[in-house]
């Protein structure tokens, strides 16, 4: 990365010492608003909306932290869960496995489908319209419906039982439309002139898609994957009847496992373990924050790399 804007400190001007004619004082602004009260009302409304949104978020995080942090203890991170010690370690590990498995299934499919729709299918193709509509519809289906399907198909019909695998497949179907749609948008945002440039040099379709279009679309695709991770980590309804609620570190993909969100649900369900539930919420919050942070860093690095290399 180039540092263009390195300004010597001696060149810097103390902005407050100059009288800029293009900046208005508060009094001037108020006088302007007097002329159009509606503008003032709207101005106050958007400020209020921003403040309320931020305050709600802050309150929520603060509430969870205040309630949860005092209940955090090392015991909650011991390897085994028991009725005496509601350790969240198995759930934490299951969450990671569940996320990875679901992504491994859904991401290649979603990206592949999007590449077909954007790069290969002819415009106005009927299949494209149908696939797109199916994806839109699927993304509006409540997650409990996915859970029901997962239970009937993966758990019962395929005899997988309550298992990590059944849960992962169910979640994969759930996030597939999300990954596909975001990838599609990212691919569509790549300017056609890059494709033309590549074709103009005699590069074929495959090379153009994989060397030129996909690298440019990576940040957008990753944004979709981050959203997908958020849905996986926060999902309960689709998992309770597919991967079950066994609170042990899964030994195989066929073991039943509960993720952190399901763990929280189980803890609060009978009202006995509210403190532990709050502590779990803190960890879940941190996990989500860490994932978002890592993904953002990753997206930045990939974007920078696709430019540098």
């Amino acid at each position: 990365m180039e540092k263009k804007n390195t300004i010597e400190s001696s060149e810097l001007v103390d902005i407050n010492s100059i009288q800029a004619i293009n900046r208005r004082s508060v009094r001037q602004r108020l006088r302007e608003y007097k002329k159009s009260p509606l503008s003032l009302v709207l101005f106050l409304f958007v400020i209020l909306a921003a403040v309320v949104t931020f305050a709600v978020l802050l309150f929520l995080i603060g509430y969870i932290l205040v309630k949860g942090i005092p209940n955090l203890s090392l015991d909650l991170f011991s390897w085994n869960y028991s009725t005496e010690n509601q350790s969240m370690m198995p759930a934490l590990i299951s969450t990671i496995f569940m996320t990875l498995l679901s992504l491994i299934i859904a991401v290649p499919l979603g990206i592949g489908a999007a590449i077909y729709l954007v790069e290969y299918a002819r415009r106005g193709n009927k299949i494209v319209g149908a696939v797109r509509m199916a994806a839109e519809t699927l993304s509006g289906v409540p997650s409990i419906v996915y859970g029901l399907f997962g239970m009937l198909f993966f758990v019962t019909t395929l005899h997988w039982g309550y298992s990590l695998l059944a849960g992962a497949f169910t979640l994969a179907i759930m996030i597939l439309p999300l990954v596909m749609r975001t990838t599609e948008e990212a691919l569509l945002a790549v300017p056609d002139m890059l494709r033309e440039g590549s074709f103009g040099l005699g590069a074929g379709k495959l090379r153009t898609v994989f060397k030129i279009v996909l690298p440019s679309a990576v940040p957008g695709i990753l944004a979709g994957v981050i959203l997908a991770i958020g849905r996986i980590v926060g999902e309960t309804a689709a998992l309770i009847y597919t991967s079950g609620t066994v609170a042990a570190v899964p030994k195989t993909p066929m073991s039943s496992a509960r993720t952190l969100a399901v763990h929280m649900y189980a803890l609060t369900d009978n009202g006995l373990y509210m403190e532990q539930a709050y502590a779990t919420a803190v960890v879940l919050l941190i996990v989500v924050l860490v994932i978002n942070f890592l993904s953002a860093v990753l997206a930045k690095r990939v974007a920078a790399k696709s430019i540098e290399r």
């Binding site: 033309e196 440039g197 103009g200 005699g202 590069a203 074929g204 060397k211």
Partner: protein, 249 residues
Amino acid sequence: MEKFKIENLDLYYGNFQALKNINLNLEANKITAFIGPSGCGKSTLLKSLNRMNDLVEGCSITGNVLLDGEDIYGDMDVNHLRKRVGMVFQKANPFPMSIYDNIAFGPRTHGVRGKARLNEIVEKSLRDAAIWDEVKDRLKKSALGLSGGQQQRLCIARALAVDPEVILLDEPTSALDPISTSKIEDLLLSLKNNYTIIIVTHNMQQAGRVSDKTAFFLLGEVVEFDDTLKIFNNPSERRTEDYITGRFG
């Protein structure tokens, strides 16, 4: 010697006929300019010469386009055709990668491996495009950091890197300032000994300055095709004269 022979070419976008019975012989190692008002079909014809129109849905072409006597719409591999007939677009379109990789993309596409060989190609292409001195210290930096004029010369270098025989330029300087424009014009003049160059331009002075031959297009037809000097000084068609003297267009 003729490089391209275009015979009875008609081109339709859907039901609309954009090119009508084009017959042109484009000579090797010359610069041919296509001029004419917007929408007259000059860019469309240019894009037919390396089959970029294949990407346009609903585009149908009849007639013959021969490159060194070989039908480019026949058995010729499209990717190989585009390697032989390179293209520079109206708007500079560097790939979002380093300057080096922009140039190396084409050769890599056509199977050139080996660092030494690629280094050689990159340097030669950038030198030929008269941009080497400006970028030699920042080959690994993003091409997007270059100025508009530099980007366009980079795109020319990128086209040169696959060792084409013909270079098509579609209004390559329309978005550039006069200094960058004159650099690119000088560049074209220095390249014409080794390449056949076909340039679409809206700028009649540019056609006058750089080209040996000029074709004047109007409403999908070639009105007149002759030596540039003849077209600009003593056109045989009234419509050519009207356009060149600025009476319309």
